[in-house]
Symmetry: C2
Subunit: 371 residues, 2 copies
């Protein structure tokens, strides 16, 4: 089965990523890597020279080039929109910067009602550069689907409240439990902003969307459910009508997987700490009413530096575990480290494509036939 | 029941910490805090002025003073030996420093067979300053038990291999899976060194011992069991004959709790991500042969900045969950943050002592009567 580039295929998607996300059995196990476009690529470092992170995200041509780089280099089954979780906040005028070696730095951290004024809703024109970049990308990508990129309200809130990266999120959590009304207002505003950011990408042509709640794993289940999940659910629910698969990802979220699916995800991103079939089993055990659980993950990125035979066996292990789950999108358990060797990633892609299907069959999953 | 300071009480321990650790029901729920001796205390900052971390750990009078500071200030049920996980390595001559704001920095990171030569066994005299400090402390502490302090082989290995703190432990994991013989030799040496460090403390008078495997939570269960657990088990087994309760702690170890108990712990330290009774239930469900599971934890330290009524309710929640477990030692889920207000910690201790027992009873645990 092949299709002309640009053909709408929402009813019968043939892209392996979209088939797997729907719990169908594609011709090959789809693979992409979080942060596949980034510092590990020499061609990325070249085009970013002298250009700040936020500036690079604001130039549609550059976003297009950077997003395409790993697609050119690897035979990946998806492109991930090159952006930063801070981009929608920058777009509405929050005074912030991405400092190399540090991360996001917020000029005036949000600690009270007054600070909230920085967070206005997205207005017409704010995201035109996003629309332009996605449209340019989709035209170039042809059949390879573009995944929309967005940080989740909690992870964004953690930067806004702390003023930058944090080890323990002490101020964020203190606000969350100690000033619940302020927290609610903050999270509602962030949910509206991130929903707009994600909708813009999908409406411009992204064929899937991933919500990155990178730091949600720092929360207890109870706190996640009470103070975070409703807002992530608002974002995921806010794009449900667009009909693209929604991937929900965080690090260290073994305890939160059920809730993260419940928030409205079609695909659950899993880090390397638990096998994919254990993750899926956990969700099914807790929520019998959910449909087939589709997983994305979960090779430990720290193992990319291991000798190839060892790494290859780890890739196969992930494929076997993913083979016991209705749908599997191969990925790392977190982003590509800047030190990763692109040739190693290329070999991982080859291996997933070469052996993925047979390892799935060996796992014995009752495949849903593609009609 | 009271006892003269220094009375041996190994058969019938009356200290609440030791009773709880044995699954008995003490008069009050015991409480102490990881890193209770440290930067959050003004008296600590005063005595440390102009003295480096490692120097402070090498002076028995200063170790005694610093260890006692929180015991004087709070009515805690245990002292934790003031030290650093790097101290035993420093004692055998590894060239390292603790850099303020950074953490341990290793002059020559261990990456090959040659690097291993830095890790000789502990020799007579190496730990005399530890023995002296513990003896001094025990004389001062009277009935309050001293807990021995030790970093676990994996956490130590991560610093030695990376050369310092790390986000992803990429080099460590690459060695673990890619050079298994080198890894084995490294971990065996570290297990011998840390066993000697912990034995020294217990033989000098510590009445419990905690093994800190702070970063073990970065591993998958499979990797933990294959490449880390045997060495932690060697350490815990290596002090079993001394008859003191062994506490085993790590951060983000929800998936590893069963294995960490299996390694030979009498008390399992739990971070804030899962309720204590869920943690204990998980261990019991997997290992029916283990005796009563005793837990330590697990207030989220990030919540110490919350308004008191909110924090108090969180303390009560921890007590209720701990009340559904055979034995509970109240603690934070990780160390006291430097920014914590000592007055807040004092109130937490008071609350645990005032309400802990009644909340346990309300939880309805079948208490083992103290004969």
């Amino acid at each position: 089965m092949s299709e002309a580039p640009g053909t709408p295929e929402s009813d019968h998607p043939t892209a392996p990523l979209l088939q797997a996300a729907a719990g169908r059995e594609p011709d090959r196990v789809p693979v992409w890597f979080m942060r596949q476009a980034g510092r590990s690529l020499p061609e990325y470092r070249r085009v970013r020279e002298g250009i700040s992170m936020l500036d690079s995200c604001a130039r549609p041509e550059l976003v297009t080039e950077i997003t395409l780089q790993p697609v050119r280099r690897y035979d990946v089954d998806a492109a991930i929109f090159y952006s930063d979780i801070m981009v929608p906040l920058k777009a509405i005028g929050v005074d912030l910067d991405i400092v190399p070696g540090t991360g996001p730095v917020i000029a005036e951290p949000i600690r009270d009602e007054r600070g909230l004024a920085q967070l206005r809703d997205v207005a017409e024109g704010d995201l035109d550069h996003i629309t332009a970049a996605v449209q340019m990308l989709v035209a170039e990508l042809g059949p390879v689907p573009l995944i929309g990129f967005c940080g989740a309200p909690f992870t964004l809130a953690s930067y806004l409240v702390e003023g930058g990266p944090s080890k323990d999120y002490a101020r964020t959590k203190a606000m969350m439990v100690g000033a619940p009304r302020l927290w609610q207002e903050l999270m509602e505003r962030l949910a509206r902003i991130t929903t707009a950011f994600l909708r813009t990408q999908v409406e411009a042509g992204a064929r899937a969307a991933q919500l990155f709640d990178s730091w949600a794993g720092s929360l207890s289940v109870a706190d996640y459910r009470a103070s975070v999940m409703p807002y992530s659910a608002a974002v995921l629910g806010g794009i449900a009508d667009l009909g693209v698969p929604r991937i929900h990802f965080g690090v260290g979220t073994g305890e939160l997987l059920v809730s993260m699916v419940e928030a409205g995800a079609d695909v659950i991103g899993v880090d390397w700490r638990i096998p994919l079939d254990v993750a899926a089993g956990r969700v099914r055990a807790a929520r019998e009413d959910v449909g087939p659980v589709v997983v994305q993950g979960n090779l430990d990125p720290a193992l990319l530096g291991a000798p190839w035979p060892v790494l290859a066996e780890r890739v196969r292990e992930v494929l076997r575990a993913g083979g016991r789950v209705p749908g599997h999108v191969f990925n790392l358990g977190h982003g590509v480290p800047p030190t990763a060797d692109p040739d190693t990633l290329a070999r991982v892609v080859e291996l997933v494509h070469a052996e993925g299907r047979s390892l799935r069959s060996a796992g014995g999953v009752p495949a849903v036939s593609v009609s």
